[in-house]
């Protein structure tokens, strides 16, 4: 079967930047970072105090009390983003469409909040029983499963867990599935809620969290800032979207992935290079066509200089012309959900022809000497955008988006 063109017709997002795509995009354009002191967890015994927490989140605004008993915060965010994306795409569900729609979600750790609360009650409070819903709340596939039930989707559904690249792997898989004809529509993205005490202590031990804020590509950067949230995209064929007169946010044209096979936490340059080249090849695109890269850009010493070198190796002289920004400086590092948020931002950047900024940028680093769109978004022509994700474990996933120009 000939490859079908795949477009994004629905987007949904919840993060520290806002509880809808509208709020999220406005804060990207205005360069308003969502990073602030974490209030949902007692931070007195943690060396860093800041994170990108969803502000004033009340699950009862979205779910019944009975549903909140069953659905962990990470899965709630997945469902909330999926509801917005489905509403945005304006689809009218039929049994046939439900049967040929897939759900592919990403998460790194699943229901961490539930794990900690349940095991605290065993270890610390000496209780003999945990909540009956502990397993259904923890399981990393919970978000994907609740999304299927929410809309009655009976096509295949699964969850991908590749640490910080989880949702790029999920979206890339979904893109290939729709393109190849394995399904007609995909609900895809990811969600994560890592701002829990035990998990924050585990990140503290790795010493990769910046105690002040996230300053990607700045010489004085000291690491990442963790965030929570989720985002979902609706993918369908161009033919189906045009037939039903759907609004198209962007087209997905390429996906590439690779593994470093070197070290469990230390990144290697060759893996990211290979994934970027594979994504360009998959899109049948020469590297000089890319206008913007939404970088992995964690703000760690190791990632940002290595990613710069990898971009230079892949793009050559064109690396001086393209813009590269890290929106993790705005929404934090949402781990398995982060690339879904970045995909929503990349699609919106193409739609509105605005280059998203790198917030909190202070001092230029000669090892990160790209145009990082510092501290201010920028209007400008953009035809193709790439979105990078490079995970702990050396697992890399890269997407390429194209502006929808009506043909």
């Amino acid at each position: 079967m000939e490859n079908r063109r795949v477009v994004v017709t629905g987007i949904g997002s919840i993060s520290a930047l806002g509880k809808t795509v509208g709020e999220t995009w406005q804060n990207v354009v205005d360069c308003n970072s969502g990073i602030a002191p974490i209030t949902m967890t007692d931070m007195s015994n943690i060396r860093f105090k800041k994170g990108a927490q969803v502000k004033e989140y009340d699950p009862l605004n979205y779910f019944t009390e009975k549903e909140t008993d069953l659905i962990d915060r990470f899965a709630q965010f997945g469902v909330i983003a999926a509801r917005e994306a489905v509403q945005d795409c304006g689809i009218e569900w039929t049994d046939k469409l439900k049967d040929s729609t897939c759900v592919i979600m990403g998460t790194s750790i699943g229901g961490q909040e539930t794990s900690e609360a349940s095991f605290y009650s065993l270890f610390k409070e000496n209780k003999n029983r945990v909540n009956l819903f502990t397993i259904p709340r923890i399981m990393p596939n919970a978000a994907a499963s609740h999304i299927t039930m929410q809309f009655g989707i009976t096509g295949f559904a699964y969850t991908i867990s590749t640490a910080c690249a989880s949702s790029n792997h999920a979206i890339g898989n979904a893109f290939w599935m729709v393109r190849s004809g394995m399904c007609d529509m995909a609900v895809t993205g990811g969600s994560e809620t890592p701002l829990n005490f035990g998990f924050l202590k585990a990140w503290e031990a790795l010493r990769v969290v910046d105690p002040e804020t996230c300053r990607p590509f700045s010489k004085d950067r000291q690491g990442m800032v963790l965030g929570e949230g989720g985002a979902v995209l609706i993918l369908e064929t161009l033919e189906a979207a045009l037939q039903r007169g759907a609004e198209i946010h962007a087209e997905i044209v390429g996906f590439g992935m690779s593994s470093d096979a070197t070290h469990i936490t230390k990144p290697d340059q060759k893996g990211p290079e290979k994934a970027m080249r594979m994504a360009l090849n998959d899109a049948s695109l020469s590297s000089d066509k890319i206008d913007y890269i939404n970088a992995h850009g964690t703000g760690t010493l190791a990632n940002d200089s290595l990613e710069t070198a990898a971009i230079k190796a892949v793009f050559g002289d064109h690396s001086k012309k393209l813009a590269v920004s890290s929106t993790k400086s705005l929404h934090g590092h949402v781990l398995g959900g982060t690339s879904a948020i970045e995909a929503v931002i990349s699609a919106s950047a193409l739609k509105y022809q605005v280059y998203p900024p790198t917030a909190n940028y202070t001092v230029p680093d000669p090892e990160c000497d790209l145009d990082v769109v510092p501290n201010q978004s920028r209007k400008g022509e953009m035809n193709y955008a790439m979105s990078n994700s490079f995970a702990f474990g050396g697992l890399n996933a890269v997407l390429v988006f194209k502006k929808w120009d009506g043909r």
Binding site: A205, R207, Q222, T265, K266
Partner: protein, 80 residues
């Protein structure tokens, strides 16, 4: 104190990395001992627990040798 810290550093490196203490000297670098960045941070975290101290991240990531570990710890402990 310095000798006690040295003995503790050697004991922790030997235990964590499953190597003989005799192979470790004050002049050993972590690289000489086949320790990667995670092994180095594990040692620092263990020393923080042992002496109930806190090393700032920027200090911790600079420690790449046994001598640097001993000197940095000795400095922090004597300042307390």
């Amino acid at each position: 104190m310095e000798e006690e810290i040295y003995n503790k550093v050697v004991a922790l490196i030997a235990a964590n990395n499953h190597i003989s203490p005799e192979t470790i000297t004050i002049d050993s670098s972590f690289e000489d001992l086949a320790m990667d960045s995670l092994d180095g941070l594990t040692l620092i975290n263990d020393l923080e627990n042992e002496y109930n101290i806190t090393l700032p991240n920027e200090e911790a990531v600079k420690i790449k040798t046994v001598r640097q570990a001993v000197n940095t710890l000795n400095k922090i402990i004597t300042q307390q």
